[in-house]
Symmetry: C2
Subunit: 358 residues, 2 copies
């Protein structure tokens, strides 16, 4: 069985994403290490996949470290502990990390790889649908800070990313649904056909049908790969990937991160952005209804915190706020998004207050 090969190109560096069943059957075919030596860092929640990689790489495994895959551990201290262990193990410039787990693990290991010996190679083996669709692609790595999420980090592309839907077999249902929000987001901003196909297969997706997951994930990865390749450093079109994220990040922070999954907060953020898109970008009622219907079937999601006094300071200090104000991503139609540079905070707050899904 041959996984699909999708390339992400940034300047003179590139990632190759392998999507499909079989990517994990012979990992050495797809992972890359210049020296042939490996530093395996895996999530406690991904032991079955980690075991498969351990077996495949055993003879050349320099480090085998298990870490926690929780947002509270996504800190500079955890990066330091990974880096300490790598240096103690004698890591050299031509060795490569392999990160196995959800977005927290790929963010942490990618950042560690970015700074150890001023940057060595790494590979990502995402085991959550959210990480497969989004977090592991595109080279953004990083950690949280007391003052906000993802405030420290680096752009550092993994050499290879293995997206094998079978790795998500034991994922809790809530995480599956939350991850599917991110995968659908890729379709909604750039690929109407992909959305149409995935909408018609929503039951199969929710029952983890591997063919349906492979098709949606491959589509979402193609969307992200095309956007990232055209805008590696997040200055222009890459911002389209933030559809639903402006309010999503605020909802997530307002609830204290434990309350909503990232994808759930993004689902609420997308629903709110649909209202703004209708007013400002001419999004039709029928396109909007299609998206709301998918979100409703992926949900129900826990209620977000809607209070203005909580959301307003979070929006104002958004990392994406520049001297010019707070930009947002709007849909003109299903499959076509654009960035609007300065949407007043008041408009975001009104949309948050009245947002509904379905």
């Amino acid at each position: 069985m041959n996984p699909e090969r999708i390339e992400v190109r940034v300047g003179d560096t590139a990632s190759v994403v392998w999507v499909g069943r079989g990517a994990l059957e012979d990992p050495r075919r797809f992972l890359e290490s210049p020296s042939g030596r490996w530093l395996l860092v895996s999530s406690r929640n991904a032991r079955a996949v980690a075991a498969r990689l351990r077996e495949a790489l055993a003879a050349d495994l320099l480090l085998d470290l298990e870490i926690e895959d929780s947002e509270e551990r996504k800190t500079l201290d955890t990066v330091r502990s990974i880096v300490d262990r790598a240096l103690e193990a004698g890591v050299r410039r031509d060795d490569a990390f392999v990160a196995v787990g959800g977005g927290v693990v790929t963010d942490l290991v990618g950042f560690a790889a970015a700074i150890v010996l001023r940057g060595i190679a790494w590979n990502a083996v995402p085991t959550t649908v959210a990480a497969m669709a989004d977090a592991a692609i595109g080279g953004k790595t990083g950690v949280d800070h007391a003052l906000g999420k993802n405030l420290l980090g680096a752009f550092h592309l993994p050499r290879s990313i293995l997206v094998d839907p079978s790795a998500s077999a034991t994922l809790p249902a809530r995480d599956l649904a939350s991850g599917l929000v991110e995968a659908f987001k890729g379709a909604w901003i750039a690929d109407e056909d992909l959305s149409t196909q995935a909408e018609s297969r929503l039951d199969r997706l929710l029952s983890r049908d591997e063919d349906a997951l492979t098709d949606l994930l491959a589509g979402a990865v193609r969307v992200k790969a095309a956007i990232v390749s055209s805008d590696p450093f997040d200055r222009g079109s890459r911002r389209l990937l933030n559809f639903g994220h402006t309010l999503g990040h605020a909802f997530e922070a307002a609830g204290g991160y434990g309350h909503l999954r990232h994808g759930e907060a993004v689902a609420w953020g997308i629903a709110a952005a649909l209202s703004i898109s209708a007013e400002r970008a001419g999004l039709s009622a029928s396109d909007s209804a299609r998206i709301r219907s998918v979100l409703a079937r992926l949900g129900p999601f826990p209620e977000p915190v809607r209070a203005r006094e909580t959301l307003e300071p979070l929006l104002v200090r958004d990392k994406k706020a520049t001297s010019r104000g707070l930009a947002g991503v709007l849909l003109e139609a299903l499959g076509r998004a654009r960035v609007e540079e300065s949407i007043p905070v008041e408009e975001w707050l009104a949309a948050a207050e009245s947002v509904t899904i379905g």
Copy 2:
């Protein structure tokens, strides 16, 4: 007075180095910040220069932080404290750091700039001759780790570098001489004419004649800029800049860092590399004598630790050691260097044991 403009180009990013008297007279002409806002981080040892910049940037100064310029403080903890202060000050993606001090400060601030908000702009105002000739140019940033120097870091080019020899006016004589070793190194690996001129002006250089310093520094910066631009990520010709550094790093570590200045350790490393160059690369006795004579007049330097049992483990775990062995930079002639991939550790140890200067 117009400083000379020298560009360092790496992929789609570039640094501009301004060399000469006058660069500090109107710093706003030369420093770059997309937002026009500045985060000033300066060394306790560079208060006069920091005061000049503070005055010039005062109206738009977001942060004004003084740190220690000592190797012991070149740690991830210091980077973290810089990053904390920047985030507390409300740093945005379009703001820029200005680092004022020696190589420790430019390494720390450059690394902080590389990771805060996944990378913001920074500028370097080196105040030591070593940093002017070498450390601030080329985008290598980083910190030390318990297991070795510069084991963590990032490649992150400063937007602008102001090399104004007047900034070194209060530099202790020992640091001046040590910095001149790095400046001469640039001439020796790539520019015989520059070396000939600087040799003839050695007394003027040691008495801090600004014209003589400007010419040598501009020449050394041109050499480094050309090499870095052709090999941004340290895979090929950039390694030529490590002339004298293989043993130099080992001498430095063997003495516990407090013992030898970096440039002094490199001076001993260069002297040892001359012997290996004579044997392996055909370096003539007269070229070798010219270099030894300059080193002797810059010295005398404190004696290095030569014991094999101390140096051998340091050489073996050199960051530049790959699976293939330990590479070294050899001179074929004054102004012409090459990398030799695998020089046996035994040869390095023998050269270290018998090294003399002059």
